[in-house]
């Protein structure tokens, strides 16, 4: 029974050789991207890839470095940090890319960032919002606003508009994204002098939140602050209205709430929910209108914030390569640091710590009738 195995391994080796053999044309500029393209979280990675590809088409009308074609070589991480590191090592070691984009989620960045940093290859995260990302090293950049920049805008707006004084807080304690968002919520609430009546935790795969919500109901908060991904978030909204929490008690969410899926699942129960977003589809400046129209034409669906962030990032990176004057990691890094541009998310530049410096593009959006609209 050993023959089939042998045949399979020969086939596999042949397949592997075929990948190695794909040559990049000498006068192309190839950069690498590591995103989740398969598996349960593929929708984030695919949106990001769409955003990159849309911008890539625009960049390649003129080309970079005086007419050279910019090429993105993708590696699929499937949401697994080991595969993400594998992808990064191959892109740096075999494809010799001068710059990396991605990876999709913060946990992957914590594994990939140190590798890129050690090899002095700049890496630009477009969707990694957790604390401590850019602290990995001086070659790690990100264009996504960390939660610590978005959440204060949301809470300030809620405090100013609705006079919120006491809140209940809920978060999923088994998920890095939700925990990191909670830390920011707590720090900001303390800073704004809003009283926290209780802090309730749950698991990100839970579907019944009645114990936590019943307790919260008895405490009569002005609003309920939740840090969770969209699935449990929708469950909480539905559960809250089911046990009769007053619809006037608003929910305030982190970036996990910022998904059209929230309205699809929770429907009217989601009405009044407030979220801060670095980008919103209905922002009506010229750059954004063009982006949304082009995206719809190319992919037959609406873009989300991940696509928008990726779109801006590719333009930023292409500019940096042009300013650097060569596909050289060190020069690109210096050029990136000096970035000053305006994209669909608003004005953009990097802080000295390589985080986005400008939060003026953040909008607070409100759920009404199952759809988000800008809070007025």
């Amino acid at each position: 029974m050993n023959k089939p195995t042998l045949a399979v391994s020969v086939l596999a080796l042949a397949a592997a050789a075929a990948i190695w053999a794909v040559p990049a044309k000498a006068d192309d500029v190839t950069i690498g991207a590591i995103e989740i393209l398969t598996g349960p979280n593929a929708r984030y990675g695919v949106a990001i890839k769409n955003g990159f590809d849309l911008a890539l088409g625009e960049v390649n009308k003129a080309g970079v470095l005086g007419g050279k074609k910019l090429v993105i070589q993708y590696e699929d991480s499937a949401g697994n940090k080991d595969q993400a590191v594998n992808g990064a090592r191959k892109l740096i070691g075999l494809a010799k890319v001068p710059l990396l984009l991605g990876p999709t989620i913060s946990n992957e960045m914590f594994a990939v960032g140190p590798v890129a940093n050690q090899q002095k290859v700049p890496i630009v995260g477009t969707s990694t919002t957790a604390a401590g990302i850019t602290a990995i090293g001086s070659y790690v950049f990100r264009t996504s606003l960390p939660e610590s920049d978005v959440i204060p805008v949301t809470l300030k707006a809620a405090q100013a508009k609705f006079g919120i004084k006491k809140v209940a807080v809920m978060y999923a304690n088994d998920d890095a994204f939700s925990k990191s968002g909670y830390d920011v919520f707590k720090a900001t609430l303390d800073k704004l002098g809003i009283q926290i009546l209780t802090t309730e935790t749950f698991g990100s795969k839970d579907s019944d939140f009645s114990a936590q919500l019943t307790k919260i109901k008895s405490l009569n908060p002005d609003a309920i602050v939740v840090s969770a991904l969209v699935e449990p978030a929708s469950g909480i909204l539905l559960g809250a209205r089911a046990i009769g929490i007053d619809p006037k008690v608003r929910f305030i969410g982190g970036n996990g709430f910022n998904s059209p899926k929230l309205g699809d699942i929770a429907g009217e129960a989601a009405d009044g929910t407030l979220v801060g977003s670095p980008w919103f589809i209905a922002k009506d400046d010229a750059a954004n209108t063009k982006f949304v129209t082009d995206y719809r034409a190319k992919y037959k669906e609406d873009p989300d914030q991940f696509a928008a962030q990726a779109y801006d990032t590719l333009h930023i990176v292409a500019d940096a390569i042009n300013k650097a004057g060569a596909a050289d990691s060190e020069k690109i890094k210096t050029a990136l640091q000096a970035t000053k541009s305006t994209g669909v998310m608003g004005p953009f530049s990097f802080t000295a710590d390589r985080d986005p410096a400008d939060t003026s593009g953040v909008v607070v959006i409100e759920m009404k009738g199952g759809k988000f609209q800008i809070l007025k």
Binding site: A12, A15, I92, A111, P114, G132, A172, D174, A176
Partner: protein, 279 residues
């Protein structure tokens, strides 16, 4: 040539490390399966080793050999502690109890600030090397071959085939089971520590039920006739997804298909030969 070789090693370093580390994990589950037990707690022991080693390195800056030793001792103690009550269970009940062990560890890690909660521990310095991982694997493999050729190996085989008969023949069943669990916990802890110091980041979800099943599948694919079987299974299952990357979305389908075919047509695993005996 040497530059090309360096380049190859750099590009495939994490894959090569993973082969060695998964080899150790495969031997860890083999130890338990070899005496006829089924444990799904291997991922928990691995996580325990990974967390203990990472915390010792990050907070106390212990030398790496001492860290590795601690990463073996702590899971061994945990195995001794839980071995008493759980080893009275057999078959599917033991598997269930060991799944619970993994879940408890995950929940504790998530709830505790000391372990970084859901954010895990990042910035773990890279201290493992190719030589270290593979000499440890070779050493452990050699140990298993020597055991398999000895009286102890025959007692283990007898237990695996028929526990009652082995007991009647004078094999000390409780001691053998406990010994196997402790050794397997030490190996899993060692693999966890090596993994943590190769990856710079660990989180509670790395050691979940999925990981326990992956470890078990190494042994099932390779076969447990000899210690080489599980190691071969680990090598194949670690490298297979990499060789199949060209298939993109069909990768997981083909990967699963190959495993199903292998298990259907080779129910005793790929390597069925036993180690020859002495004495």
């Amino acid at each position: 040539m040497s530059a090309a070789l360096d380049n190859f090693f750099f590009s495939y370093q994490s894959l090569i490390f993973a082969v060695g580390i998964n080899g150790l994990l495969a031997l860890s589950i083999y130890t338990v399966l070899a005496v006829g037990q089924l444990s799904l707690g291997q991922a928990a022991f691995m996580g325990l080793g990974a967390y203990v080693s990472a915390l010792l390195t990050l907070h106390l800056n212990w030398p790496f050999p001492a860290v590795l030793l601690a990463a073996m001792v702590v899971p061994a103690l945990a195995a001794l502690l839980i071995g008493g009550p759980t080893l009275k269970l057999t078959g599917v009940y033991l598997a269930l109890a060991t799944i619970a062990l993994g879940e408890i560890l995950r929940i504790v890690c998530n709830a505790s600030d000391f372990t970084g909660g859901a954010l895990g521990l990042s910035g773990i310095p890279s201290k493992t090397s190719f030589t270290l991982i593979f000499s440890l694997l070779a050493l452990v493999l050699l140990g298993f071959v020597l055991v398999a050729r000895s009286r102890l190996g025959r007692a283990m085989e007898a237990m695996r085939e028929d526990e009652v008969a082995a007991g009647v023949m004078g094999v000390n069943l409780p001691a053998m089971k406990m010994g196997a669990l402790v050794v397997s916990a030490m190996l899993a802890g060692l693999a966890g520590a090596l993994n943590a110091h190769a990856n710079s980041f660990i989180g509670p979800n790395d050691y979940s039920f999925d990981q326990a099943v992956t470890i078990l599948s190494f042994a099932l694919l390779g076969g447990i006739g000899s210690p080489f079987g599980p190691v071969l299974g680990a090598i194949i299952l670690t490298l297979l997804p990499e060789f199949l990357t060209a298939l993109h979305d069909f990768k997981l389908v083909v990967n699963g298909f190959i495993i199903v075919v292998a298990v259907l047509f080779m129910p005793r695993g790929l390597l069925v030969w036993r180690i020859g005996r002495i004495g």
